[in-house]
Symmetry: C2
Subunit: 122 residues, 2 copies
């Protein structure tokens, strides 16, 4: 990760000027320039202010490049927590669809099991 580059890319993508971001996080524009050039570290307090300005989480800002380089995801191998997190990353419609599918798969399986056990009884 390169926080300086990430911040610069995000700022530009959001159409903000250096001086606007500088004002928001409370530093001189020259200081902010140094931040994007990697000549001055971003403090954690500033990072938090950036999360609000950019409307992103700190982790999204720190891992911005990694997030946006599309890599294949193999969800099956991951832990439940990671699966939940991955599902959450889907947009609302896809997530809803996934949940409906899971519901239906589970429901179907249970009906099958039930009838396999009990049809003979009728």
């Amino acid at each position: 990760m390169n926080l300086a580059d990430n911040i610069k890319v995000i700022r530009e993508k959001q159409g903000l000027l250096q001086k606007e971001v500088a004002l928001h996080i409370g530093v001189d524009k020259s200081t902010y320039s140094k931040i994007e050039k990697g000549l001055r570290e971003v403090t954690v307090a500033e990072l938090q202010k950036l999360t609000k300005l950019f409307n992103l989480t700190a982790d999204q800002i720190m891992n911005y490049n990694e997030n946006s380089i599309p890599t294949e995801v193999v969800i099956e191998d991951k832990s439940t927590i990671e699966q939940m997190q991955l599902i959450q990353q889907l947009d609302e419609e896809d997530k809803s669809t996934v949940f409906k599918i899971i519901d239906k798969m589970l429901t179907t399986k249970k009906f099958k099991d039930f009838f396999n056990k009990n049809v003979a009884m009728l």
Copy 2:
């Protein structure tokens, strides 16, 4: 938020010593002591190392107090996303229990509906 306090609480909850965390993030134990005392700022690079050691996101570390101050939760009013996030905050056993209950409630409802519609047919 008070990052220094958050880190201290998290460290203690995970049963780690200052010198262990210090070693992990690459600072002298005296420097780490200052971090927890608020006498020395945590750098973003260090925060990222802490996310790995603590197995938490940067945002979870920064907002730790807010997360852990016990406030009553009324999950029913919240959006699905928030519900998911809340469920994720549960520990593994509780989460598993919740999911099992939800499964069973849904399954039960479907069986009820099915038999209400079809028992007359037999």
